[in-house]
């Protein structure tokens, strides 16, 4: 594989709340690592290219958008799963997490099949949990989700909410991480706000990367943004 190739699946259909920022962060950071980055966008009813990407990114959308993406995904699933088995990594945020999971159960009982790249099973719950969250010193953001996630164990979780302005979110076990797939319900700009996750993801793909000092400007600003969240919620 040559350049750093990102496959951004359904960039218009699954574009709810700033998820594009994750692709922006990866592209900009890759450039700082002296990696030439190419982003391939594929919408519903468009074909996958023959180029195996280093990373597949799937963002978030409404339930209607998620259903539309899931319907389209059935024709792409075999190829995507094959790529992942051959080393392609995955980043999924919000309903993108649903689509790479074992599946999503809707309120009417309908079940949307996922790509089964995680061992989590998702369900649309009865109420939303909404608030700013801190999961660690290097991981903070905003959750706005009604998903209930059943997992075989918490060992592959991306993080656990330590503090939030929404009491129901404290203790919430978020996301998934296994060295191949990173997924989260900390929505929107997960990576710009949490560059350690961006670098960890890039490290899965390019293990020998040395972090350049010129990334500090981004990381200091993101750290201050996370600190502001911590101060607001008293963490």
């Amino acid at each position: 594989m040559g350049n750093f190739v990102i496959l951004h699946l359904y960039p218009q259909t699954l574009k709810l709340n700033g998820e594009t920022g994750n692709v922006t962060a990866l592209s900009v950071r890759a450039a700082q690592y002296n990696l030439a980055c190419e982003v391939i966008q594929v919408e519903t009813q468009q074909s996958l290219s023959e180029t195996q990407p280093h990373l597949i990114f799937i963002g978030s959308g409404t339930l209607g958008a998620t259903k539309a993406a899931a319907k389209d995904l059935t024709s792409k699933a075999a190829k995507l799963i094959e790529w992942v088995s051959k080393g392609t990594k995955v980043l999924a945020v919000g309903s993108g997490f649903d689509l790479v999971s074992l599946g999503l159960e809707l309120p009417d009982g309908e079940f949307i099949q996922g790509l089964a790249l995680t061992d989590t099973k998702h369900k649309v719950g009865s109420s939303y949990k909404v608030g700013e969250v801190v999961l660690s010193d290097n991981f903070a953001g905003f959750i706005n989700s009604d998903r209930e996630i059943v997992r075989t164990s918490d060992s592959k979780a991306l993080g656990v909410v330590l503090a939030s302005d929404e009491p129901k979110l404290v203790g919430y076990v978020d996301g998934f991480k296994d060295g191949s797939v990173m997924a989260s319900n900390v929505q929107g700009p997960l990576l710009p706000m949490n560059p350690a996750l961006a670098d960890e993801l890039l490290g899965w793909i390019f293990p020998k990367l040395q972090k350049p000092t010129r990334l500090e400007i981004f990381d200091v600003l993101a750290a201050k943004a996370r600190n502001a969240i911590s101060e607001r919620i008293g963490y």
């Binding site: 709810l16 709340n17 700033g18 409404t62 209607g64 909404v130 706005n144 929107g188 502001a228 607001r232």
Partner: protein, 418 residues
């Protein structure tokens, strides 16, 4: 029987609070506490009916345009000022106009209503007609999804008695209207392809996966939009308009207000009076508004949500020279700023508010130079004012806009008939 007491207490409270420059929704809340049927007992007596305006964006401007058009036709119109679109805000607005018995001296009411609360108001006073501007990505922390907003507005339409006028070029509002066409007269206001292309990002509607391509009955068509100019076709006649501020979104608002006025007025509708009314309208409170302060002109670009900010950026005719961004907790989650195309901006002079560093991170990834990060907005304002130049741009969320107006000496309050 309680109405006189509700009116007297509410009016007294409103007078006191306005003298102090704040608390515009409180008198309405008190009046409703004293007389829970306050809205029914006041609005329910209007001879020519009650009409609601709702949707994600453009409510305030469209309502202001519609009111001006109807007044130009000689009607006595009651309306709620921009922002007074919750039950308590509406009650506050009514307190300015009712007599001590709770009677209004108007012919017709044109009310801007919140997407979620509109159905609560409609359950008390059913509107004769409903105008829906659009369904866009807005306040996800509150609404979670535009699909939820669709359901709220669908409930509101169910409570409407006579007709619907919707933005037909917004697939969601068009679909919503079609769902009520067996019971209500339903009309669409459409924007031509040329008009939609006049803005870099078009109409910015929320996604829809509806495959029905049939049109509604056409109430009006936006034929062209360019800067502050728009051309609308209604009843076979073309009207040229001067908009209160440049932008496709204002042109669509104008077409919607004309289409709605046509349905309210029927054969009394006059296109020349309508064009005159829209063309004479000033920018509505913080929407394309320019504030004069110490010899400087400060253009307010409200950062309400992704579509409104993008539409306002698309409408900029030149790159702003001096820019201040200020956002506070009124926008609990500004994640959507990563989906905004910021190519109309070349630099930012000051960033402030509690979301300073979230914005700064976004701007860093965009590669946009930022001169100063000053989280304290009062200090940031001082810095902004001290910068050279007389034409400046403030990109602010609603709460910062309200704060800024007060700091700049504009004490009229949204929702307070100011």
């Amino acid at each position: 029987m309680l109405t006189p007491l509700a009116v007297l207490v509410g009016k007294a409270l409103r007078f006191v609070l306005r003298m102090r420059g704040g608390g515009s929704a409180v008198p309405g809340r008190i009046a409703l506490a004293i007389e829970p049927k306050f809205l029914q007992l006041t609005l329910g007596r209007l001879a020519s009916g009650i009409f609601f305006v709702s949707g994600s964006n453009g409510k305030s401007t469209t309502t202001a345009m519609l009111v001006k058009i109807l007044r130009e036709h000689g009607l006595q119109v009651l309306s709620n000022p921009a922002g007074g679109n919750l039950p308590q805000g509406l009650a506050s607005a009514l307190l300015a106009d009712v007599n001590w018995r709770g009677r209004l001296g108007h012919d017709v009411a044109i009310l801007e209503v919140d997407e979620a609360y509109g159905r609560q108001i409609a359950a008390k006073v059913a509107p004769n007609g409903l105008l829906l501007t659009n369904i866009q990505l807005d306040q996800l922390n509150r609404f979670h999804s535009p699909e939820d907003v669709f359901e709220y507005l669908d409930d509101l339409a169910t409570l409407t008695t006579d007709f619907l006028v919707v933005n037909g070029s917004d697939a969601n509002t068009e679909r919503l209207a079609k769902g009520h066409s067996s019971r209500l007269a339903t009309f669409g206001v459409y924007a031509s392809e040329a008009a939609q292309k006049s803005a870099a990002h078009g109409l910015l509607a929320a996604p829809s996966f509806d495959e029905d391509t049939t049109n509604l009955n056409v109430a009006a068509t936006l034929l062209d939009a360019s800067g502050r100019r728009a051309r609308v076709e209604v009843s076979g006649n073309q009207i040229d308009l001067e908009l209160p501020a440049p932008g496709l979104h204002y042109a669509v608002d104008a077409a919607l207000s004309i289409g709605m006025a046509r349905q309210i007025l029927g054969t009394k509708f006059n296109e020349h009076k309508s064009a005159k009314a829209v063309s004479e309208l000033s920018a509505v409170y913080g929407r394309g508004e320019v504030i004069e302060y110490r010899g400087q002109q400060i253009e307010i670009i409200m950062m309400k949500n992704l579509p409104s900010l993008q539409a306002n950026l698309d409408a900029l005719e030149e790159t702003p020279k001096t820019v201040w961004i200020s956002v506070d907790e009124g926008t609990p989650d500004p994640s959507w700023i990563y989906d905004i195309d910021l190519s109309k901006l070349s630099q930012i002079d000051v960033v402030s508010g509690t979301k300073t560093y979230q914005w700064a991170t976004r701007l860093a990834y965009e590669g946009l130079p930022v001169a100063q990060l000053i989280p304290n907005e009062a200090e940031a304002l001082e810095k902004f004012i001290s910068l050279p130049g007389v034409r400046k741009t403030a990109i602010v969320n609603y709460e910062q806009m309200m704060w800024l107006r007060k700091k700049l000496g504009l004490l009229d309050l949204e929702g307070g008939n100011g």
